[in-house]
Symmetry: C2
């Protein structure tokens, strides 16, 4: 089903390849739009919570530990480090532009940012806490109680408010104004000849069939390894991919197509983080997904294009977190 969608898309894209319709593929991609309709108070609270290590058992790990906003919204290691330095099963996808995703996590098991935000807090391999304990910590801190009350108008904090606020902050994490977006908007000097050649290769050889939309990805689930199988370093439950959600064996190795926005910052690549360079990633994608071996020059051009997708990074003051009180439950960093 997904594969057939891809094939159908490829046919559509194939139609763009002719010189007569050059420009048509540009309608498949769109410049990243600045965040709109943000509840500022809620996003400010969410920002604090995103940086809040007290949502973890250890008091040491926060959302920002693995979705580091200094580093493209990811941790730049193959798979993440969880409580007690546990090795995560999968590469942490970037939080940047994640509001544009059709669903969250690589297998799409969370419908939206709000649902996603609750996952790592309670995952024993990640922040290793519970929703109840996290709420207890926040409830013990007068400054948080006051801020939640102001934002949500309720007397008690609950996990729904916590994840709603984090999601609202994450909605602000879009990255407009990349050079490619400037080019899309008409600034023809924004890309040089190699970068433009890379974009033409990207659309004409079929990459855009999956990596389309505002985020150049994030809109569909596709099989990794269509033409040739991908030799994954991941455990079997991870390679179930979308199949773990749908229960269909046909969805094995189907993953949400990752966004290519800021891809120069979000190495290493793929669900197993096995590939560190864009050069290798482009080569693997060309061969396994499209049955195409890019020449060195073509590869370099596609890579040059991909590097134009880095947009404005989040810009905000480091949040200052209110201190714990004598009543705040204490972290247990060295408990297993």
């Amino acid at each position: 089903m997904k594969t057939r969608s891809l094939a159908a898309s490829l046919m559509v894209v194939g139609a763009f390849a002719g010189a007569s319709v050059v420009g048509a593929a540009e309608t498949l991609v769109k410049p990243v739009q600045p965040a709109k309709n943000i509840n500022k108070g809620m996003a400010e609270l969410g920002k604090k919570l995103f940086f809040e290590p007290r949502l973890s058992k250890s008091g040491f790990l926060s959302c920002n530990s693995c979705h580091n906003l200094s580093r493209g919204g990811t941790d730049n290691i193959p798979t993440s480090i969880g409580h007690n330095w546990q090795q995560g099963p999968i590469n942490a996808p970037t939080v940047l532009n994640s509001s544009l995703n059709v669903a969250q996590f690589r297998d799409g098991r969370a419908a939206d940012l709000k649902e996603q935000a609750g996952g790592p807090i309670a995952n024993p391999g990640e922040m290793a806490f519970t929703h109840d304990l996290a709420v207890n910590v926040l409830e013990s801190i007068p400054a948080y109680r006051a801020e939640f009350r102001k934002v949500f108008g309720k007397d008690k904090i609950d996990i729904d408010q916590v994840t709603t606020a984090i999601a609202e902050f994450e909605k602000t994490l879009v990255t407009p104004n990349s050079r490619f977006d400037k080019w899309l908007k008409g600034d023809k000097k924004a890309l040089n000849a190699d970068e433009l050649a890379g974009w033409n290769l990207f659309k004409n050889s079929g990459c855009v069939a999956c990596h389309y939309g505002e985020a150049l990805g994030g809109t569909s689930f596709q099989k990794l390894g269509i033409v040739e199988p991908y030799k994954s370093l991941s455990p079997a439950d991870v390679t179930k991919g979308r199949g773990a959600v749908t229960g269909k064996d046909a969805d094995r190795f189907n993953f949400k197509v990752p966004t290519l926005r800021n891809v120069d910052m979000t190495y290493p690549y793929f669900h197993d983080g096995a590939v560190w360079t864009l050069k290798e990633a482009v080569d693997v994608m060309g061969r396994l997904q499209l049955g195409r071996k890019y020449s060195d020059q073509e590869n370099a051009q596609v890579v040059a294009f991909l590097k134009t997708l880095t947009g404005d990074q989040p810009k905000f003051a480091l949040p200052i977190l209110p201190p714990s009180t004598d009543q705040t439950p204490r972290p247990t960093p060295f408990a297993k």
Copy 2:
């Protein structure tokens, strides 16, 4: 020697206790001054390096991991988490106002911020990297090469530049404008009656004999447990304290007097992080250092005073770190 200094200081302070000389003790403490003579370009580079996980073996830990500037410049756990979740031997002191310290680390083994900054990078129990590898990583990143060249005017990056830049950033991390400082400067409404009573107890019962100066501490080494011994949770090499540096047995259990600036944010307390509340910390200090059991009311007043020492927290945009290149040595998060 240190103990005799303390006794002498206590005599001096004792003289302040009479009503006729009220106000004299105020000359022992000073408002925190804003940072001066900062090389802005160097401090900006140092800020990036302070948040740079690629100075660690794992690519996951940065200076900010344990000296979290969202949280009073510390990690708010008893002892820190190092590479592979190793449990550190000692409580991480705050980096805030650390430029005011007579020396760095609790035992003063580093003469200044620059010397300190090199320690954790190469400590196998902390960031577990080497200075050479850290420099290799930075050298592989064109944006860092350009920024170092601009700041230091040299063709090659070296560890001396790295630690110099981090120290320059750390010099900016002072916290002026606490309520106590406003009071010291003449705003008599800045403290309420309990807080003022707490300050009077603080100076008249002898706390100020060690906790004096701009940082209310950081200026001398003193024995922990003068009147009664402190039962430390730390390993023996930590309880050597200053003795590990001087080689003198008499300096065992001597530690640098910690700053009390922002002490409401820098829990848990003491070199072993064994005490979580200011109430208990004040009680322990009174009994062990001064032979004085504060009443509940006195304790609450001293605690109220201590909470007026929270100043302006660092305010700056989260730094964005330049991405690695194909040549950048890769982190090894799960290597022992």
